[in-house]
Symmetry: C2
Subunit: 449 residues, 2 copies
């Protein structure tokens, strides 16, 4: 996943370096303590410049931002250390502290992410469709920036850099609202990136940082007309809050309660490989499988194999009675699946396992419990595959492939903002084009009706 | 605009006919008095059938619905007469009564609209993009129905038919909520169309009618998870209510405060023709022009001509001081434009007229007052046209063409749901594809990560 600087990139080679002077001239008190109204007005003004920028200008700015981040590594790491110290003092969990922490290598990874974004095609200006009408009017639908995009996320400093870079490349001014636990870090990162923009002759207000308490977030969510789009990036709680409270349009990135269904006509070696991969390859992400449904006609043969393999991989199993019997027979530890299990996105080495009498039952189960992210069938039966792909209502439907492939990087998009589980505007992996809207340009020589 | 049965279609040749028996078996008390929860659950079940229908099945159903409407003309007209009578008794304005009224010719026009929808391509199943990944996975992004779509509109019976037809063609189950002033009419229309679906072996619940007071509407607007999309069709007040109160995703169709800017390098004959056409061709619609901005270097020559032509067409003029002086010199009556005038969508033979010193001022004025629908420049200057099309933030930007061309029919879409002035999902004229979402189908032979 290029564009996500937490993902594995080239090892950081640049570390120390002096604090960038740009960071020193930045006064958070005056630049980021502004309310949403002021930030949005500044962002709107900046967006008037961004809308007309060439790809060359934007890519040069992205490289300048990357260079400035690396040059300011010491300042950034020092600011981050304050956040980390406060987090530890407040009893922040180790996992969250790890996500919050920046060292020289991670700063370099953030810079790399910006350079990766620079290497991607510019979505702005792409002609989506067009024609010449009978009356000679030439019409074309062209991708243009959204304008001002608000991004609300948790205490993950890499998202600050990522969102700023994706915003700039797509011609949007961004208002960033990161978790308050990363306050010092975000100030430092934004100061450096704003300084780099100014040095490039671009408006610093293309990147705004919203501070303040919950009230500031509420102001952002209701800044209809000032902000064109809000993207929440984070856990289910954050997303739910944004979706229900926002009057500004929201792109929802979502939860993955992902199923793998092993059909009567499945190749069982394939089924085993896909199930284990979908569950264990990276259990903490949204495209990891959470439930396994097995057709009863292959259950006797398949369940002992798959339950053993899963258990050997350290997966805790939550079984329905039929799967539980198979587990008992094979001497594999398991819990009885509760109603709640079928709706749980474990994001961990746990899996609910059940036996279904037929494809209809599998489809009904998935309809009831799916979060609309990714669903998979393993089958050699074309009719079953066709029904599954037609009837399952999800962003991605897999036939004989691991659910782990629902990913902007895997799909070849280069960058990924998130995976949309909603149906409006974008569904599935979202990349730069999803940060744009379109405009119809109609050119004539005096046509009237 | 095919798909809008109020628009001009073939003259109705079929009038009388007996009430269709299907209408008589429909009991509104049990079928439409259901709450949103029940209606949505039924619609969801119906949508499971709709998602897999072939185009042939859907087109046959649309023709059956059209035939049934014509066969039930007397029943429909009689039901409508009750609504019209109640409307008149309640003091409904003549224009609204006219929009509410159905006669045999208008029923036939509704039937024609359904047949026109049948003639359009099926958006469902269209492959938007796709590729084969390096690992052999075949991925394709395919258009699929949204699922359950709520449509909220005013007392215009033709929208009931139109929305049902567009919903069916796009594979969606619809929940219709028309203005209560058309209650009897909508019951009759929905009963006939549901009956026709059943006769075709399709689920009647593909078309649901939501009755009840404001509370029912509020329930619909907050039926997140039950309803996939809500489309308001109507005036600014209705749309504003839906947009601010809905937690279900909304596609906003909007207000048009449309400007025509006459540049320094305009051909003035072209400018005259476009201005008069944009203002007077059909002043009541959203793509009609409301404000005229004239570059000062051509004002002395152009204003007398255009103000005379507009006044001759019955347009009431609201002028800034410079345009006012020109009107006075030509002896043309006019009012001084108030601040409010520049933000008013007159939807009538009125126009605000002002003089601007340059293109920058025109762009700034439009930025401040545009509703983001359609904006036009008249110019022979390529650089001015390029700046205007790049910098103006609107669904459609015209160069040397009347603003009246922003229309699904004119663009060749065949049907039009409305014109979106929002930026998410759809912008500009919306047709059948905009009633769909997409799904990624990924086919492999056992690929894992």
């Amino acid at each position: 996943m290029a564009g996500h600087c937490t993902s594995v990139g080239p090892a950081a080679t640049y570390a120390g370096a002096m604090a960038a002077e740009t960071a020193e001239t930045f006064d958070p008190a005056t630049e980021t303590a502004a309310g949403v109204g002021v930030l949005a007005a500044r962002a709107r003004t900046a967006s008037l410049t961004l809308v007309g920028l060439s790809r060359g200008d934007k890519d040069a700015a992205l490289h300048a931002m990357a260079d400035a981040l690396e040059a300011a590594t010491d300042t950034i790491v020092a600011a981050n250390a304050k956040d980390v110290e406060r987090g530890r003092a407040d009893g922040m969990a180790d996992g969250l502290v790890d996500r919050l922490t920046l060292d020289a290598e991670r700063v370099a990874a953030c810079a790399t992410a910006l350079r990766d974004i620079a290497a991607l095609p510019d979505p702005v200006g792409e002609v989506v469709r067009g024609s010449t009408l009978a009356n000679g009017l030439q019409i074309r639908q062209v991708r243009v920036p959204m304008g001002v995009v608000g991004i609300i996320y948790e205490a993950r400093p890499n998202v600050t850099v990522d969102a700023a870079g994706l915003g700039l490349k797509s011609g949007n001014a961004v208002i960033l609202r990161g978790g308050s636990a990363a306050e010092e870090t975000n100030r430092a990162l934004v100061a450096v990136m704003r300084g780099a923009l100014e040095k490039q002759g671009l408006p610093a207000d293309a990147i705004g940082l919203l501070e303040g308490g919950r009230e500031a977030v509420r102001d952002l969510l209701t800044a209809r007309g000032l902000v064109d789009l809000i993207i929440p990036r984070g856990g289910a709680g954050l997303i739910q809050t944004v979706v229900t409270e926002s009057t500004v349009p929201v792109i929802e990135t979502g939860v993955g309660n992902v199923h793998v269904y092993i059909d009567a006509a499945a190749d069982l070696d394939t089924a085993l490989a896909i199930t284990v991969n979908a569950k264990t390859h990276r259990p903490s992400v949204c495209n990891a499988a959470e439930s396994l449904l097995v057709h009863e006609s292959v259950a006797a043969e398949f369940l002992p194999r798959v339950l053993t393999a899963l258990a050997d991989s350290g997966v805790r199993l939550h079984t329905d009675p039929a799967a539980g019997s198979a587990a008992d027979a094979a001497g594999i530890p398991h819990d009885d699946a509760t109603d709640e299990d079928w709706d749980t996105e474990y994001l961990a080495l746990e899996m609910a396992v059940g036996v279904v009498p037929d494809l209809d039952a599998a489809l009904a189960h998935i309809r009831e419990h799916s979060s609309g992210h990714t669903e998979a069938i393993v089958t050699q039966d074309r009719a079953a595959a066709r029904r599954f792909t037609t009837e399952v209502d999800a962003a991605a439907v897999m036939v004989n492939a691991s659910t782990r492939f629902t990913d902007g990087g895997e799909f070849g998009f280069g960058a990924e903002i998130g995976i949309s589980t909603q149906k409006l505007h974008a569904r599935g992996p979202m990349a730069l084009p999803e940060l744009t809207t379109t405009k119809w340009i109609v050119e004539g020589d005096g046509q009237v009706r």
